[in-house]
Symmetry: C2
Subunit: 142 residues, 2 copies
DNA sequence: TTACATCCTCTAGCTGCTGTAGATTCAAGC
DNA sequence: GCTTGAATCTACAGCAGCTAGAGGATGTAA
């Protein structure tokens, strides 16, 4: 039986994060010692590893919830899990495209900067005037 | 003089977001009508456009605060603004690299999925077992 | 004047955690 | 058995960067 701290180390998770996952129902309530401390077995270790790995791949907690449900029904067709992964892939591809546009714009800003005074800083110019941009990059965020 | 709604439309910002920016000190408190409604002039329009554009390029609100300060001191050397932009560029490049690794992993998961039953779903397999991954992708998030 | 769109303040919520405070429990060494 | 110090407990607050809603006041056009 593992303490929460040991489980945390084994999965590369913070202790508080494990308690948070329990709180939102992503992990089941574990058994407790007489004194009230959580004790975990292998099933919980596997489940938390799954969650962490999916998080590293950028899945949202909601998607992970779905994937966990699916992984507990081995008889179901795989199409749903596949659809979730494809959705995630599409999101990642969109973010990549947006980020690439941002990268180009930032690189241009930085390269055009002559290193003079703020009054003719290209960085500030471009920020002031969107029409100087080559790309659209309308979306904010990651 | 513009109402907050008109300013919002012109800059592609939500009304609440403008009030939020004012609250955190990113925009100055504007003048008001007798009845207490906000009224904006061209200076505020420019400033908000600057903020929105920088947000679209992924700058944090803190970075934007710095950039705004700099843009109000035309005599200062441009190096600081340049440094902020370079920092942002580096962050974008790092995120791009991480995302590209994720994209490859997701693509592999999805392509290996045979469309059978959940019990032999490659998507779920890979999530269960990190050792199946080709890349490391240790970092979570954007 | 009368609608009704827009505005006001205030508060709470979102995602996915992270950090703190103050009290309790566990495990190892003596 | 006792002490000590690390680990754990609960509860709550906070982060970024907004977004949404309630409940009421204001502005404007017909």
């Amino acid at each position: 039986m593992l303490s929460i701290g040991t489980l945390a180390k084994k999965t590369g998770t913070k202790v508080q994060t494990i308690r948070y996952y329990e709180q939102i129902g992503l992990l089941p309530e574990p058994g407790r010692t007489e004194g009230g401390q959580r004790r975990y077995g292998d099933a919980e270790l596997d489940r938390l590893s799954f969650v962490r790995h999916a998080r590293q791949l950028g899945f949202s907690l909601d998607s992970i919830r779905e994937l966990l449900d699916l992984s507990e029904r081995p008889d179901k067709p795989c199409a749903e899990a596949d659809a979730i992964a494809r959705r995630q892939l599409r999101q990642v591809e969109q973010r990549l495209a947006r980020l690439e546009a941002l990268r180009m714009e930032l690189e241009r800003m930085v390269h055009e900067c002559s290193g003079g005074q703020t009054s003719d800083c290209r960085v500030l110019d471009v920020l002031r005037d969107h029409s100087e941009c080559l790309t659209e990059h309308e979306e904010i965020g990651a």
